[in-house]
């Protein structure tokens, strides 16, 4: 069985298939490592940094780092939990995340992580960004101040020739994800619904439907994010 890789996460033995990243191997072994920008089936980019773990005393993003034999990975330490919490807080203050008025509330992964790490108040000052809403297309709107720039839509929502519906614009603090104006006019219904689904937050919204699920039955109302992965 040379295809099998053994390593450890927080002392627990993990058996990985060759070519798996740390995050994938962890999942298969019942260990949850939080992710935001990572999306199954597409090349990871390691941009949200939430899945950072410590390997050989160095921080690595577990969504991009291949599992290697004998690795000692630290995932659930006070230090790492606080760093992850601080990233969640950074994303909250750098946008405009007013949960009670958001269609995605209860199903939002950023919110789910804030619940998991018990964010009571961000340690950073709020920026109250105002990039506004792009609602020109017939099917979708994009709430720019809820976007966490995870690139999931950029990586997954493409037409049959591979053209991307979503792209970055600008850089640094001015960076935004925008939708191609022309392409947005003709996006197929199924793809539009997929776009909303793939967005971890409430930035991509399928028009005319919202707040359909009552409070209490939504994904993260009762169950902590990642609890379906954790075995013990």
């Amino acid at each position: 069985m040379s295809e099998e890789i053994k390593f450890k996460i927080d002392g627990k033995e993990i058996i990985a298939k060759k070519g798996q990243t740390i995050v994938e191997a962890a999942k298969d072994n019942g260990v949850y490592i939080p992710t935001l920008c990572n999306f199954e089936g597409v090349k990871p980019k390691g941009s949200c940094r939430i899945c950072s773990v410590k390997v050989n005393n160095r921080f690595m993003t577990s969504c991009t780092t291949p599992a290697a034999p004998g690795m000692e990975v630290y995932n659930n330490t006070t230090e790492i939990s606080d760093l992850r919490k601080s990233i969640i807080e950074l994303l909250f203050v750098s946008g405009n995340h007013f949960c009670p008025a958001c269609e995605k509330s209860g199903n939002c992964e950023l919110q789910g992580l804030a619940y998991k790490y018990q964010m009571m108040v961000p340690r950073f000052p709020y920026s109250f960004k105002k990039h506004g809403v792009i609602a020109t297309g017939p099917k979708l709107l994009k709430e720019q101040d809820r976007c966490i720039l995870c690139q999931r839509c950029m990586k997954t929502i493409k037409d049959e020739s591979g053209k991307r519906y979503y792209a970055f614009h600008n850089r640094g603090t001015k960076l935004e994800v925008v939708m191609d104006e022309e392409m947005s006019k003709t996006i197929p219904d199924e793809l539009a619904r997929q776009a909303m689904k793939n967005c971890p937050v409430g930035s991509i919204i399928y028009k005319e439907i919202g707040f359909a699920e009552p409070i209490g039955t939504r994904k993260f109302d009762k169950q902590s994010i990642g609890s379906e992965i954790e075995t013990n």
């Binding site: 990871p44 980019k45 390691g46 941009s47 949200c48 940094r49 939430i50 950072s52 921080f59 993003t61 991009t64 780092t65 291949p66 760093l83 601080s86 990233i87 950074l90 994303l91 203050v93 750098s94 340690r123 950073f124 000052p125 966490i148 720039l149 020739s161 591979g162 053209k163 991307r164 519906y165 979503y166 792209a167 970055f168 614009h169 600008n170 850089r171 640094g172 603090t173 001015k174 960076l175 925008v178 939708m179 191609d180 104006e181 022309e182 392409m183």
Partner: protein
């Protein structure tokens, strides 16, 4: 119009990976990339319009909006500020009748700020339509604007003919000076150009060449210090249809300009080094990634490459070595500091945003177009030539035990003789200051904004206790005084940027704020940490400087500095260094600003806060019971 764009697209075979060059050509042709061109490009390359704009909007020197006939990019780096940036800026604005970031109404003049352009030894400097204007004063700024308004041509705006050495070459003809102040083994002019390719290469095997470089202990001179021989060895062993040698000439770390001088005066060594690297690793593709700011050298450097091809130093069967095939093209950047990071540079070369890649895989495994790629700094490649000629043992006779050979320093700031100094590793800060004629020194920034702000006073005890637990520029503990700290990989590693500040400078207000602005401007924005934290930390620093800080604010800055270390690339990880390094070495400046008697302050000012509403309804007070 459409034909012109299509001819440009055809020139690059409608290849999306050449998007940078396509956009550069369109910029050159029409001054900006308009909606129509964008749609033609998108259609021809089979990508979406948004994707084309994604690349355009990333780079400082690309524009989707019309630019002026004369575009003045004034450098706002710290050394420029020390030498009158503000006054020059005001002179440009007053005379042109518009503010920075805008065009004049007639579209004649556009004013823009730009990050370090590698002219720290002769700033403030500006790039006007790709031509460099150095040593600007308010007088010269006014003169330039008046000359433009009077209808003079670009060449006629120049107030000095040309600088020294190759700066005077007809293909370059720039007023830039080399300012070489100290020469050692690398800048020694007594050598025969391309001697190693012509006479030595046929006598040694690629393995022997790699071994020599390994034995010389040459390490990457861009700043990171990775062993060059090892990089070549890894690259040579990677399987791949092609292998690529990239020379990284995107020096963007504020305060460094050594690559400018190397490419002006010793470009033969740089290109020869690339050929040696290609020979050692069996690479066939060579690219010099030249930062846009150095576009004034482009024609000249291309002429050097043409001559090399004529002499069979590039091309097929180079120098008569059968099967040795290698050529070099020059890829221009378009204004992005982060592209100095090797994987971001490769992304940029592939026509994309210059976003650093996740590692592994490293470029030597999968680099440009997924081929094994070796990225070396300009100085590293030139040094390799000297080593190949004179041997590893010779090279090992210079420097110190852990840092062998010499290093080019770009010295600027408050000193009499800014310029390039080639020193042996192990030279102390004190010696550098003496060489450069610096007096009354308060601080020295070693390694640019991402490096260390060295306090020339004794390191106080405070820094050795609590702070050292997590923030450790290597060797900090060993030096008796900061003044005697040595430039070396074990004490003060550096890409060579040395900026000197005298005692009249306000370290926090002038220096640290300028550096933080730089990192905020130059972040690619991909990582949540580097995109957001420098802005937040700078605002906290402003709060402290404005007298609203409390002791907790200093601790917050230190703690938040840990978060940014999670960023993907070196730029992100070091983007808080100006603050962290100044707290470490100038903590008293922070302590002086914060209020000792209170543990809470928020800068909230009720009078200021109600003033927009008050002035709108015409009220002069807050409300009746207050």
């Amino acid at each position: 119009m459409k034909e012109k764009i299509e001819s440009i697209l055809n020139k690059y075979n409608n290849d999306p990976s050449r998007l940078m060059d396509i956009l550069l050509d369109i910029m050159e042709n029409s001054g900006y990339v308009d909606e129509f061109s964008i749609s033609v490009i998108a259609e021809s390359l089979n990508i979406s319009v948004a994707q084309v704009k994604e690349t355009i909007s990333f780079y400082h020197f690309f524009s989707e909006k019309p630019r002026a006939k004369y575009n003045i990019f004034l450098n706002n780096s710290i050394t420029s500020c020390l030498r009158g940036f503000k006054e020059v800026k005001e002179a440009f604005e007053t005379e042109a009748g518009t503010s920075f970031g805008n065009l004049t109404e007639d579209g004649l003049i556009g004013l823009y700020e730009t990050s370090c352009i590698g002219m720290n030894d002769q700033g403030p400097a500006a790039i006007i339509n790709d031509k460099i204007f150095t040593n600007l004063t308010p007088y010269r700024a006014r003169k330039i604007i008046n000359d433009i308004k009077a209808g003079k041509k670009l060449e006629e705006l120049v107030y000095e003919n040309h600088g020294d050495g190759n700066n005077a070459h007809p293909l370059m003809n720039t007023m830039v000076y080399n300012h070489i102040r100290k020469k050692s083994i690398l800048l020694d002019e007594n050598y025969e150009k391309f001697d190693v390719i012509k006479n030595e290469l046929k006598n040694i095997s690629p393995q022997e060449l790699i071994q020599t470089i390994e034995d010389s202990n040459l390490r990457g001179r861009g700043g990171a210090g990775f062993p060059t021989g090892l990089k070549w060895k890894f690259g040579s062993r990677m399987p791949g249809e092609h292998r690529v040698i990239i020379c990284n000439a995107d020096e963007g770390e504020p305060g460094t300009f050594k690559d400018r001088v190397m490419l002006t005066q010793f470009n033969d060594l740089v290109f020869e080094g690339m050929v040696l690297a290609a020979y050692a690793t069996k690479a066939d593709i060579g690219v010099l990634y030249l930062r846009y700011e150095y576009k004034y050298m482009l024609n000249y450097l291309n002429s050097v490459l043409d001559n090399m091809r004529k002499e069979n130093l590039l091309g097929e069967d180079i120098s008569g070595i059968e099967g040795f095939k290698f050529d070099i093209r020059i890829q221009l950047g378009a204004g992005a500091y982060v592209c100095g990071e090797e994987s971001a540079l490769i992304e940029s070369m592939e026509g994309k945003r210059g976003e650093p890649r996740d590692k592994p895989p490293f470029p030597v495994e999968k680099g440009y177009m997924d081929y094994p790629t070796i990225v070396n700094n300009v100085e590293t490649l030139a040094s390799a030539v000297k080593i190949a000629k004179n041997g590893a043992k010779w090279y090992n006779s210079f420097g110190t035990k852990d840092s062998l050979g010499t290093k080019l320093l770009s010295v600027s700031g408050d000193c009499r003789f800014p310029g390039i100094y080639e020193v042996e590793w192990g030279t102390s800060i004190r010696e550098v200051l003496e060489m450069a004629g610096a007096h009354n020194v308060q601080a020295v920034q070693v390694g640019g904004p991402s490096g260390t702000l060295v306090n020339v006073k004794d390191i106080d005890n405070l820094s050795k206790t609590e702070l050292m637990k997590w923030y450790k520029p290597s060797g900090m503990m060993t030096a008796q005084t900061a003044f005697d700290r040595k430039l070396s990989y074990s004490d003060l590693p550096t890409g060579g940027s040395i900026i000197i500040f005298n005692k009249d400078r306000d370290i926090l207000r002038e220096v640290v704020m300028n550096f933080m602005d730089f990192f905020i401007e130059e972040s690619c924005g991909s990582c949540s940490t580097c995109r957001n934290l420098p802005r937040i930390m700078k605002e906290k620093l402003e709060k402290i400087i404005n007298g609203h800080g409390v002791r907790d604010d200093i601790d917050d800055l230190l703690n938040w500095g840990k978060i940014i270390k999670l960023s993907r690339c070196g730029l992100g990880q070091t983007a808080a260094n100006p603050i962290l390094s100044s707290i470490l070495n100038f903590r008293h400046l922070y302590e002086d600003h914060v209020m000792a008697m209170t543990d809470y302050d928020n800068q909230f000012d009720i009078v200021k806060s109600v003033s927009p509403a008050n002035s709108f309804v015409g009220r002069k007070f807050i409300h009746n019971h207050s």
